[in-house]
């Protein structure tokens, strides 16, 4: 019989090897490919690219749709985050602070946008836009769809936060003669704060990453970072260019996700952030 700690150690070493294959090598390859100089291509007989250059990065910055894509993605995301948050608040307040008939049903309905396949939502939302003649307002349409699609996350996070506001804190503040705003600051805000940040952040990340709506509703001509990366993997697949775009999409979001993970831990350890 192998001692458990020896087994654990062996498993750890195995896992680290797998993780290297799983994450480190693919990402290193992407970084290396993004640094390949077009004049000296990276051939299979070389372990590393012969020359490292930032040519691809400046080339993609100047000559691709990267600038409009970044502008679109990073305008959509904060707007979606703020609006989703604002719209989710009354619902989250009701779920978190009151007991009412049909509460479980309401919670289930709130999950609907996550259950309907995103391509079905995207395609038939476009159909509706055509029917009512609003198909040309692509930015607004995508923003609207993002708000509805990511409401479940904001509602869930904020209703848990509202549940954590303690009634004795509210009563104590009121008994001490605090005005409504002071009650909010003393009793509500400390419990809500991590949830507010987490809700804003998760909608922001989800919106930056969202593909189906942006791809279908945005056709033709409206690009976001994910749709641009997707098209770079298509017909005119150019590995170094795709590597640059992939890193631009992946890296900021990984950093934000790590930050979110911390926030959620401080907000509520039992709560999963949902699917990336």
């Amino acid at each position: 019989m192998i001692a458990p700690h020896v087994l654990n150690r062996a498993l750890m070493i195995l896992l680290i090897c797998v993780a290297i294959l799983w994450l480190v090598i693919p990402f290193t390859m992407a970084v290396l490919w993004s640094l390949v100089d077009p004049a000296l291509p990276w051939t299979p007989d070389n372990l590393l690219p012969p020359v490292i250059s930032t040519y691809r990065w400046s080339y993609m910055w100047e000559n691709s749709l990267l600038k409009p894509a970044l502008l679109n993605s990073y305008t959509l995301a904060p707007l979606a985050a703020l609006l989703t948050f604002a719209i989710s608040m009354p619902t989250a307040f009701a779920i978190g602070r009151y007991d009412f008939r049909g509460k479980e049903t309401v919670k289930l309905i709130a999950l609907l946008p996550l259950v309907v396949p995103s391509f079905v939502t995207a395609i038939f939302f476009t159909s509706i836009l055509y029917q009512i003649g609003l198909a040309q307002y692509r930015f607004a349409a995508i923003l609207f769809a993002h708000i509805v699609l990511f409401l479940p996350y904001a509602i869930r996070i904020m209703s848990v936060s509202f549940e954590q506001v303690r009634i004795d804190h509210i009563n104590a503040a009121r008994d001490l003669g605090a005005a409504p705003w002071a009650v909010f600051r003393a009793a509500y805000w400390p419990a809500l704060k991590p949830g507010v940040l987490a809700a804003l952040l998760i909608v922001f990340i989800k919106s930056v990453e969202e593909f189906a709506i942006a791809y279908i509703v945005g056709q033709p001509g409206f690009v976001t970072v994910p749709t641009l990366v997707y098209s770079s993997l298509g017909q005119d697949f150019n590995r170094p260019n795709a590597a640059v775009l992939s890193l631009i999409l992946a890296v900021p979001n990984v950093v934000l996700m790590l930050f979110l993970e911390r926030l959620l831990k401080s907000a509520n350890p039992a709560m999963a952030s949902g699917k990336g």
Partner: protein, 300 residues
Amino acid sequence: MTRPSPWFISILLLPGIGLIVVFIGAVIYIAIAQSVGFYNLTGDSGFSMEFWEKLIGRKSYWTAVRYSLFIGFWAAVLSVAVAYPLALWLRKPFKGSLTVSAILKAPLMIHGIVAAFLFLNIISYNGLVNQLLVWTGLFDEPHRLQNDSGAVGLLFLQVWKNMPFALLLLTGAVQSIPQDTLNAAQDLGAGTIERFRRIIAPLTVSAMQAALIIVFIDALADFTFQTTVGPTNRQSLSQYMEFFRGRGRWNEAAGVGVTLMALSLIGAVLMALAARLIFRERPIARVVAWYETRRVEART
């Protein structure tokens, strides 16, 4: 908690839940209506089963249905099957367990399209996998691994992306199993598989169901992985739907969309039922019953 008037609650729920109901309701309604000939963007509208008849008569429709079900089923089963042992391993914290779980969950943070690119990079003709296989002598020369017709690459990527999610759900469930129950089973002589089948799986069946359903729906409706790393001789349902839409054939696209929603629902229910039937609940009663038979056996 207090019970306020239903009106007050309705007003509070209106902006959030109301918006969700109207939006998703409209999307589902339009999909169903267009599949039976209403709301045509060009030409006359009116009830007609013509589009369904056409769709059902097509071989490519059934290929897409079978193929998407295949991907959905195996992505769900494999993701859960890989996640279970890992969740059990991480059940009790040990030195480095946080790092391990962070590494395992990292794919959750990586966008699907980026994952597809990373994967394409590794399995390309002159990529690492080919070079390694040639170097070890398993291949005489590099093979074309991209877009393999058996969808092995696609399933690998699905598991890569979805396993961490299943792990997230299962870790919580597995951690809540009382140690006493596991000890009791072990004392009774249950081996690893027996303990999993009789104790762990039945006690965590709801997390298992949730993981199966969510991964199934996600993989069934997959578009990006299919169009980047999937087989080129078959279409997934999402791809098939987008194919019709791209040609302005909205009614047929709607038929495929309705099929996709129906299959998500039916498949999810069946998977949940299957998990429950295979790993029936009442584990404690089973342990006791089992213990009794063992005792009788020992006596005789």
